[in-house]
Amino acid sequence: MSDLQFKFAQLLSSNIPPDQTDLGGETIASVVITGISVVFMGLIILILLVTLYGKIFEGINKSAEAKAKAKAEAEAAAKAKAAEAAAKEAPAPAPAPAPAPAVEDGIEEEVVAAIMGALSVMYEGSGKKPVLKGVKAAKPRRSAWSAAGIMDNTRPF
């Protein structure tokens, strides 16, 4: 074992000439151990750093989201107040605001916003006012046609 340790240390400080044959068991073992451990060491360092900055960015994104949410809520409350005041002043009853859609747990607000945005673009100019009543995740099981469609779209990757 001490021989192997010596070889390992020797390998890091010296080199094997390209034309050398008959490398010997110890040299071969030290190449394998050195190679695998250096590759793992390099990539483990990257895992740690990428995880670390991933956590930092996740934290930043979450706090930004929370701020945006609080801001949106405050704006909505202010609008509701203004609408209430306007309703008191005007004799005609204002149309009731659409109820908030029932959103299933786990679905992000951005997704709901994107769906709402898509709906309003679709109905723009038609005179109709679409109301999003609920958003829920699709069942994991897909129909054969749906699966074939997804397969077709992801095949180039």
Partner: protein, 412 residues
């Protein structure tokens, strides 16, 4: 009468100087066999779609280099010379580039890009400009699978050494297990000498052949090493990755890997530079050039010149058989190592990781990831492992570049 005699003499002289006469000269039969082998590879590329973008130029380079009298490539120009420089230092790896520029053929001139290690890093630039590291950033543990799959490289080194091959041969054959053509060419062009059993061309041929055979080689190993329950694991959705994270990643990887293993810097550096160009979002013209024109031009140069190094005496030999055998072992071991670490991660995460994504750790982007997806869907048709497998897949590209750097640092 004199005119007829002169006409016949001229014809005879032309026939003697023609390439056809070369086939009947000493060893000319080997050229015929090599040309026939080039036809086989052309068929595999065109008829069977085996990595055609590289196998077709390689096979045509093989055809050109074996045409007697064409003098497109001169292997003797690339033999290392032993010289003493003006400072009295002996250099036994000297190549006379002036001689090549003055007397070399077209393929000699183009081969300078291989020998000077220009083409593989430039190919990596294009690969970087096409790669999305998002799945890897979202799930950094994928790096481990990319590292494990490089085990095939080092275990094959053992196999080649047992067959009493030289250190350069061992390293060049072993790197085939990384399933990364440019990396294999990068390592072999730097290490192999005229005394080596294999050439850059034979290494490239083996590497690209096995990369094309990923859909045949990997699935049986994947099925043999995993249970039905493991293959049926449906993995959760990956977190979204911000643009800033994607921008930091290439800089971070370059700094860590290039400082840790400087010999891996050309490959990793260019890979990450290409990726930074892509993620920057402000260098569209450069990204398009790296992804398309530059990549295509280099692919043509690389393929045709690597093919030119496949001389008859290197291919029609037992050593080429050894390269092919050890190559497939390297590839299979890499796949197995990735799967086995995937199994360990499956146990440690209590069944949250599908071990099939481990096989994608052998680069071969994106084919290896697609195989993980395909084998996973055999158990659960609605299971989409593709993005999860892309993490280990792109980690494998970085891992094989690091492994190449380690081999180059050890063998020199």
């Amino acid at each position: 009468m004199a005119i007829i005699q002169s006409f016949l003499d001229t014809l005879a002289q032309l026939a003697q100087e023609s390439g056809f006469a070369g086939f009947f000269a000493d060893g000319g039969w080997k050229n015929i066999i090599m040309i026939l082998i080039s036809f086989v590879f052309m068929y595999l590329a065109v008829g069977r779609g085996f990595e055609p973008l590289l196998l077709l130029p390689i096979s045509f380079g093989m055809l050109l280099t074996n045409l007697p009298g064409a003098d497109l490539y001169h292997p003797e120009y690339w033999e290392y010379l032993k010289v003493t420089d003006r400072y009295g230092e002996v250099n036994d790896h000297y190549i006379d580039y002036n001689r090549i520029l003055e007397h070399g053929g077209l393929l000699d001139i183009l081969y300078m890009g291989v020998k000077l290690q220009l083409y593989p890093p430039l190919i990596f630039l294009g690969i970087g400009a096409m790669t999305d590291f998002g799945p890897l950033i979202a799930s950094p543990r994928s790096f481990l699978l990319g590292a494990a799959a490089q085990g095939g490289i080092f275990f094959t080194f053992v196999g080649a050494a047992i067959l009493n091959m030289s250190a350069a041969d061992c390293a060049s054959i072993a790197i085939i297990g990384g399933a990364d053509g440019p990396t294999s060419i990068f390592v072999s062009s730097k290490l192999l000498t005229k005394n080596s059993a294999c050439s850059v061309g034979t290494i490239a041929l083996a590497a690209y052949t096995y990369m094309a055979l990923v859909p045949i080689i990997q699935p049986p190993i994947m099925r043999a090493l995993t249970t039905k329950k493991e293959r049926s694991v449906v993995m959760g959705q990956l977190r979204p990755v911000s643009r800033l994270e994607k921008l930091i990643f290439p800089v971070l990887v370059t700094l860590i890997i290039a400082l840790m293993i400087p010999s891996a810097a050309p490959l990793v550096g260019m890979l990450m530079f290409g990726n930074l160009l892509k993620e920057s979002g402000c260098c569209d013209r450069l990204v398009k050039t790296a992804q398309n024109e530059l990549m295509n031009i280099i692919t043509i140069f690389l393929g045709v010149t690597v093919g030119a190094t496949t001389q008859a005496d290197k291919v029609i030999s037992l050593d080429f058989g050894k390269v092919m055998l050890l190559g497939v072992i390297a590839f299979s071991l890499g796949t197995a190592c990735g799967i086995l670490l995937g199994k360990l991660m499956y146990i440690l995460t209590k069944g949250k990781i599908n071990p099939l994504i481990g096989s994608a750790g052998v680069s071969a982007v994106p084919m290896a990831a697609r195989i993980s997806q395909k084998v996973g869907q055999e158990e659960v048709p609605t299971n989409y492992l593709l993005m999860h497998a892309m993490g280990p897949n792109v980690a494998g590209v970085i891992g094989s570049a690091v492994a190449a750097g380690v081999l180059l640092a050890i063998v020199k």
